[in-house]
Amino acid sequence: MNLPILDFMAKRKVAGAGSIALLLISVASLTLNGLNFGLDFTGGTLVEVGFPEPVDTEQVRSQLEEAGFVNGVVQHFGSDREVLVRMPPQATGDPAALGDRILSTIQAEAPDAAMRQSNFVGPVVGEELAESAGLAILTALAVVMLYILFRFTKQFSVGAVGALAHDVLLVLGIFSVFQWTFDLAVVAAVLAVVGYSLNDTIVVSDRIRENFRTVRRGTPIDIINKSLNQTLGRTLVTSLTTLLVLLALLLAGGEGIRGFAAALTIGVVIGTYSSIYIAANILVLMNISREDLLPPEKENAKESYP
């Protein structure tokens, strides 16, 4: 099976424009709608209750309202026998005991209902978690930039981080547009996307560097195009196997891990695209040339194959 030689770089302006448009939409949505932050970041109480029989959420909601709990969200979780109650801090009572009080209110009507999970996050802790999550993403980007600067050149470093920032922003943008719950697990997924997309970008960059050193003819754009074609088979296969396991997670992993799997699935698709278009595009924009990549003599001897 041989893949045809595709002229990726011919479409680079179209791709660039498309990416910029999507980035603008993401930034706009993030500023206007913001993210639908989960309990981890907002603080509050979340109780998942399992019922032996299917149950109507309306009924649970009115029951809780009668008991004086205000501003709660009641929804099915996974199946119509599981109900998720999310409640902001209430004006009275010990906030750490709110979950217990919600549970006993529900159990007063349905004695067979069982607690499946009960989470309480205090407001201070929520803020700290949000801070450390943001810090983690930024540190990851900075460390990656330094490592690539050390292993490759300035252009590759900017290209890789540009591609990563692009991926992170788009994933956040999609979570913002659809108002999916954004919690700690999604942050972990975003960081995994950084890792994955980086992997892709480095494989492509590695080949571009190698070809700049060994291929004597052609413009930088030709060489980048050739490199992208050479790595295309591998890029597609790896994305496919990763998507296969993510599919398994989405289908079999259950409700608790859905946000994580969704973020990763989107991230892998975007990451694959960005390693082809964004990273390479930035290389062209920054006028990468053969001279930038002339290796030190010793390394040259090692790299050139007989």
Binding site: A96, G195, A252
Partner: protein, 637 residues
């Protein structure tokens, strides 16, 4: 790199030496090395295949107390009489363990055992636990299964904030009382009575002479404070400011005492493998696997209760030395000074007054407490002694912070006079307290036994997972790993045929090594951790894919054996580059992330290491065995 030379020598028909091997073959030792690693991996991953048994653990409260076979037999009989099957019972590590056959029996079994053991002299603690079913020979090799995180085993995770302001404030007030007592004893005239301001204490005096005398007098008491004499507005005063170092020491001591007290309380709750750990400057993490009733756990853990024993004031006592309490509708004036507090209690048990059948708490004091109690009561027979029950209750109030209504946590101290009784004779080390309700008496006994908390705490984060969700999570995790693994295996086989088979075998080895390393490291498996494993499965083949695509490319202008050789060597640098950076990301995840993120990061990091090893070493060896050392006309890849 030497491959062309090697082929050349072979064409000459020279005998092979270790340096001149046929293309793509390893020395035997290399194959054996790879095989040995994989087998070791299989061995240490194996314990994870054995499901642990539900079990009950019985331990005596006094660790020196031995457990005999009779007790084990008694427990076993009690369970069997209650219709709970006990397939095996054993003793070890100062505890008795009874294996059960069904999870549902655990909670009921605990009740049965607590009932059966309650009549004995010794106090026993019954805990829910799980016992490995790993065969003995594997256990002897140190192989053990990964422990399950709370999201898989079910249980309670709490993050507690220690109320340091309150703690330091209380200490400062205590210092104030002691200082005043010393000044009264030395007949030095001071002014006012509220001297404390944060971590400072300022005492105004009438005369400079009194101030200077007091400075010498109090110097010893205020060690760890910086003292200064101030003369403003013709008001000589003495100020003590706590040094930061001393503050830090007090905080550390408070946290240590809270940790110890929490460990004791958790023990009483019957948790077999709790985690009680300090986090940062003023927080404590508490993991209680297997606990089902989180409300009960939280009530006991966060309860701050103490006792104070004081003499009732005589008519002539100075008013600055006394306090007034309500007792049965009327005021009672007590001395401020404590004879003894709950900290000096060594044993406390709730039982019943044989005459009135009212609940009571029998208390034993330590030597210092007993001596003080004896001294105080000996000289005061006929006078009255009062017992104050102190409880810190978590409260909230809504306050305006920057124009926003926020709910603020604070703890409120509730003091209640529970008994006033005439001292009939000199008291010693042991006595009883009445006047409490049954629940209060039971909790008080437990809390006095476990030791008081030095500083009040409140819960800032709780994550409780019920047993049913935990089991669901395990099932789902297992399913996703299996489905993902099979899909990837099938794909690789279809796409790369023979090489795909090598990759599939390497992937299997990878999964085993990943489990083995995690088990050996003693890592905890969580749901995000399982997600990390699934992701590793998907991404681990990447290194193989890189190698195979490279071989395919090299085939265009090289004979098969050289192409294989070149493919592996050229892909290596790319594999390392790509994986080292991802490894960095995993490290960052681990160091900055919390809870779920950490579990994911650990599997991701370990997965990267095992993936690189299996792709580079295992796949290479397998490909060599399959294709190396023979003449290949064409290569299908």
């Amino acid at each position: 790199m030497g491959s062309i030379d090697v082929i050349g020598t072979n064409l000459l028909g020279l005998p092979q030496t270790s340096k001149q091997r046929a293309p793509n073959t390893h020395p035997l030792g290399r194959y054996l090395f790879v095989l040995a690693i994989v087998l070791l991996g299989a061995l240490y991953a194996a314990p994870n295949l054995f499901q642990p048994d539900p079990a009950l653990q019985i331990k005596p409260e006094d660790p020196d107390q031995a457990l005999d076979a009779a007790l084990l037999e008694k427990a076993r009989r009690a369970l069997e009489e209650a219709g709970i099957a006990v397939p095996a019972a054993e003793t070890g590590a100062g505890s008795a363990f009874l294996r059960l056959s069904r999870d549902e029996d655990q909670l009921r079994g605990r009740e049965v055992l607590m009932q059966a053991l309650s009549g004995l002299d010794e106090h026993y603690i019954v805990a829910l636990t799980r016992l490995p079913t790993t065969p003995a020979w594997l256990q002897d090799l140190g192989a053990k299964p990964m422990s399950l995180g709370l999201d898989l085993s079910g249980g309670v995770h709490l993050l507690l904030q220690v109320d340091m302001d309150k703690f330091i404030g209380d200490r400062m007030l205590a210092m104030q009382e002691t200082a005043r007592d010393a000044l009264v004893d030395a007949r030095l005239r001071y002014m006012g009575r509220d001297w404390v301001d944060g971590t400072r204490l300022r005492i105004p005096f009438r005369t400079v002479a009194a101030r200077d005398e007091a400075a010498t007098l109090l110097a010893e008491q205020f060690q760890g404070f910086e003292s200064s004499s101030i003369d403003d507005q013709e008001q000589p005063s003495l100020e003590f400011a706590m040094l930061d170092e001393h503050l830090r020491q007090m905080e550390d001591a408070a946290i240590s005492q809270n940790l110890q007290s929490l460990r004791n309380r958790v023990n009483e709750l019957g948790v077999s493998e709790p985690l009680v750990q300090r986090l940062g400057r003023e927080r404590i993490v508490l993991d209680l696997p297997g606990i089902q009733d989180s409300a009960e756990a939280k009530r006991i853990i966060n309860k701050f209760a103490n006792l104070q024993f004081r003499l009732v004031a005589m008519p002539g006592d100075r008013s600055s030395l006394t306090e007034v309490y309500d007792y049965e509708g009327g005021p009672v004036t007590l001395l401020r000074k404590n004879i003894v507090t709950g900290d000096q209690v060594t044993s406390a048990n709730q039982d019943y007054d044989p005459e009135t059948a009212q609940p009571q708490v029998s208390i034993g004091l330590d030597s210092d407490g007993g001596r003080r109690m004896n001294e105080a009561t000996r000289d005061n027979v006929g006078r009255s002694m009062a017992i104050i029950f102190i409880e810190q209750k978590p409260r909230t109030r809504t306050v305006l912070v920057e124009g926003q209504e926020t709910v603020e946590r604070y703890s409120e101290e509730e003091r209640r006079l529970i008994s006033v009784a005439t001292i009939q004779s000199a008291l010693g080390y042991n006595f009883r307290i009445t006047g409490l309700e049954l629940g209060e008496a039971r909790d008080l006994a437990l809390l006095l036994r476990a030791g008081a908390l030095a500083a009040p705490m409140y819960i800032v984060e709780e994550r409780t997972v019920g047993a049913s969700l935990g089991e669901d999570n395990i099932d789902r995790g297992r399913q996703s790993v299996t489905v993902g693994f099979l899909l990837v295996m099938l794909f690789m086989l279809l796409r790369y045929r023979g090489f795909g088979l090598a990759a599939d075998l390497a992937l299997t080895a990878n999964l085993m090594l990943l489990m083995a390393v995690m088990s050996i490291l003693g890592a905890t498996l969580t749901l995000p951790g399982i997600a990390g494993i699934v992701l590793t499965v998907g991404m681990a083949v990447d290194a193989n894919v890189l190698i195979f695509s490279r071989i395919r490319e090299e085939l265009k202008d090289r004979p098969p054996q050289q192409a294989i050789q070149a493919g592996f060597e050229r892909a290596l640098l790319t594999i390392l580059d790509a994986n080292i950076t991802t490894f960095f990301v995993a490290i960052i995840l681990f160091s900055i992330g919390s809870g779920p993120v950490k579990g994911f990061a650990v599997t991701l990091a370990v997965g990267i290491v095992t993936s690189v090893f299996t792709a580079v070493m295992c796949t290479r060896s397998l490909v060599n065995l399959m294709y190396g050392g023979r003449t290949l006309e064409a290569l299908r890849i």
